[in-house]
Symmetry: D3
Subunit: 227 residues, 6 copies
């Protein structure tokens, strides 16, 4: 863990059929199904609205102001992957732009999640290659110092192992450990199903206070209503 | 003030006819008409561009990471209200999402202003329920600790009493005390009227320096022009 | 330098033909062509997506919460200029809105770059007057204290002399010193040309590792591949 | 409320005997005794360690970059007061320094709490005039625009009325409304008394789990111990 | 991993003799010896200057605004431990104060590292119980929602397993995985030894340019000296 | 300007006798004497309290996460210099520590001002080598990419030319252009002299309102006193 200067070529990806099914669920639903863990910090935002992807993680550990390892990572990408890039220090530089996106896309990557900056956002938007990043910046980077590919990384506060499932949408980015993927899918599906009925009731004017039977616990907690 | 564990059911709302007329004015105009006070901090941003609402405040005091009182607040909403939620500590959690929005909308709420995070922004955008928040986050919350409903709150630096008028648009959120609502409306209308003529003059090439008669005070303050 | 209370009327603008050609290049390309310098910090963001301008700088030094000098600057604007406004302290107030934009546009300004806030963003978007700012805020300002116009300013970390070229797009804002403008244009054009071929290769599946001949230097730096 | 350009000369201060007794309690204890409300945000920090004051609030509303009203406030200070200064926009300028501190001290002020910056911190430390501020900055301010004195203000997220009790120490700043002062004192004293015994038990090795009888509620909440 | 609601009682601590030897090295030296990884973000700061500890990690996962699990963790502390507390969301609340410190100390804990706030800093300073935290805040917390104890946590960007070595001083906090502890100690010792000679040479006026033989690589990189 | 990869060996330093006299004045006084310009942002803070230096600037432009040029700069230091280091992107890495400080001190440097992080703060404090930085961080840096020495730099928002005077104390850091040094000294001395009398008057209870004759302009601005 935390090795510098290594590239793991063989990683245990979550099964494609499992990973792909996550695209049917939002990051909030998946995060709830995991027991409210696994989210990246809200400082990671999509560069354009409406993108929604799920895929298997190829991880990258970058040095600040240096995007060399993103080029190394491109070779490790398989169709269906989402590249997840952490940086050893906080950095908003533009590590990623149109050329790298062209290459990532050609290798089959579905998206990039980076705890740093990206640039060429107009071109990325036009080619529909979604990026979740902590900043947009035209600032270029060098290619001088090694990091790693496919080691476990901490990206925006979330621990990501290569092969984990990444789900990203307008609400943020969640990482599902490979071993928890199937169970989480079941939980997400159950949650979604239960929400259909709830949504209809709430839309008809039923109050959550009644639907969730909150009045008794609220009273027990001491809530007072004053006219 | 600052009571925890209470819900005030009877609040003195600004008259509907008065509150509704504020929808014709932007937050900047209203803020100027109030004498440049009453604005929330610019960290509060709309989740989608173009929303513009005015309504009467139902206030909520939340605990960090806990959205229980939003469910309690839903019952207090009357058509034309805007829910204003403060948190007792800085928090970016996703206190509010599609289900609560469905309920709020069914009760007649026009918007939510929250000094915390919200989630399901794609669904909220599609159902056109506008939210002004300090963050977007998939992070869920618990329902364990009491706050209050319809007590005075400080939300993003602005003091809001239940029943005050809230005006929110792309520029931010302003709170107009109920007692000042009518006078503020008059001031806003006067300001807007005076701007029509100014806009035309400026568009024709007249300089603000001349239109506002600034040359003399600038010279008096010592401004030097150097060729 | 740093004079307070002065307006320089005669500034040496980069030639129009040169400045205008920069509109064909993105801020990232121009920044690279300058040797990776000259960028403003990424805290400066456009108020709407898709704007892309190049022009000659008219500079303004503002006092916090005071927009008096923007009115003074309007008189110094010539068609093709971009106004660049620094503030003597960090401030997010709404120094600039629809009326000033109407005036700036009438004088021929193409955009405003401000290390402070702006307001009326909906109106500015509709009239297509782009602003790059550090905040959006309805907060109004006063007209009480002198700053300067057309002195060198530090705006969001970048040094800008009056007459320099400003290039701004979705990725950020870069300043090209007048003396470096022609050479930078050549560098930007060469870079763009070289990218067309690279983009095609990467899109066809060629790896950057091979195209940029990185395998040898990576091995020399000690990168290990593990199966 | 929120009036600009007014100075209230007569304010209802909390009784001196009551206010002074708060100096025996830390801000954390007082905040707990109030029901966990009334705290300013943790961005407000003391300029030197170890200061601990309690006093009655004289409030000031400042404009960004302008300290005129602090001079006006000096005249309203009575021995035992703590000046609380809010700013209409976020600002880190150095509104307050040695000269104003000399004047405030001569009038009997015990401290300044300011949601802005202060300067001359070495001199202030030597003269033992404590300041809680959001920044230290040598940046000077002007005297050009009116604010107000002794209106209710929101300072760092807390609502402060003139005459309220302010308690400030290394942990932060809390405001106790005048009407709640006596009851809060009683609560703080009770809390302190109960902590003496608790401290001794914990120091002897008794666990909070047992002392607070948490084992049952933890088990009820589902906590599992795994060997 | 990431389990909520569990307490692992048996953890594999780094050997005491190994962990204790880390107290002889600063966090910067240890971080270098690990290959420049393992550091927490610089937002984590000591509450008083001069503290320097090394110990074995007992980990805690807290919910925002809730310190229940710190009480649970106290029972798991063994002499020589350092408690490391992560929070599932960004929070500056005062999770920890004098009473908990008394209990932790009685159980043998050497310090607390928390990605949240702490309070009673004056008392903690007097009792010399060091805390590294992201904030100081008088804000109290509740005891309502489960987290976990002795699960792997991400604290301020660093991954910490129970039993890892924590080294903390004025420069920050570094986590050394148990398996890497011995090798890291050797590296740190070697580094320290080599610095003694370097320090003497630099103090005598020898330049790093010569001592590190940088002149040739600088020239090769293209550095130009201009008289 | 903004050249990368160059070291200017011959710089025009402000005369030693002039530069040294600045040590008698605080940064706030100097900043006022310059007309309230020239300050670095308040994010730059001293690593220990009480340091106060003045000296001539040797400037450094660093790349993020890379401290190579600080070693190059050491050779350019002359007794009485203050090294001022800017970074091409925001970075909190620990660019500077005990070894470099030993070298800088041996060459005669009085201090370092860096818009990045530093480490070994305990050792730096013990050897009394003051540093003003934006962060403290144990994070190490590489030596791989060129920057420059003795080019003009923008450091924390202030433009610094090699040879300018730097004045730094607990309140912050101000840069005085070489050409303005003498006049600024005179202004600072005059300001200090005038403050002695003012301080005595204020200490005796005279109000600033009277001493500065503010009552009339306040009334003219519309200030109302209400009993």
């Amino acid at each position: 863990m935390y090795e510098i200067g290594v590239v793991y070529r063989s990683i245990a990806r979550t099964e494609t059929m499992v990973a792909d099914r996550f695209a049917g669920f939002g990051s909030a639903t998946v995060h709830e199904a995991m027991g409210r863990v696994g989210l990246m910090k809200p400082s990671i935002r999509p560069i354009y609205a409406g993108a929604h992807v799920a895929g298997t993680a190829v991880t990258v550990l970058l040095q600040p102001g240096d995007n060399w390892m993103l080029h190394v990572a491109a070779e490790q990408v398989r169709p269906g992957d989402v590249v997840v890039a952490a940086v050893t220090a906080e950095s908003t530089d533009g590590f990623f732009g149109e050329l790298l996106a062209t290459s990532f896309k050609a290798q089959g990557a579905r998206a990039l999640v980076i705890d740093g900056g990206c640039r060429d956002v107009r071109a990325l938007t036009e080619m529909r290659f979604p990026v979740w990043s902590r900043a947009v910046s035209a600032k270029g980077t060098v290619k001088a110092t090694l990091g790693s590919v496919n080691v476990p990384v901490v990206c925006a506060g979330a621990l990501v192992y290569p092969g984990d499932v990444i789900v990203a949408d307008d609400d943020g980015v969640v990482c599902v450990p490979r071993a928890a993927a199937s169970a989480t899918l079941d939980g997400a599906a159950a949650r979604e199903a239960s929400e259909i009925d709830k949504r209809a009731k709430l839309a008809s004017g039923v109050l959550g206070l009644d639907m969730y039977r909150m009045r008794e616990p609220l009273a027990a907690a001491g809530l007072r209503f004053i006219d």
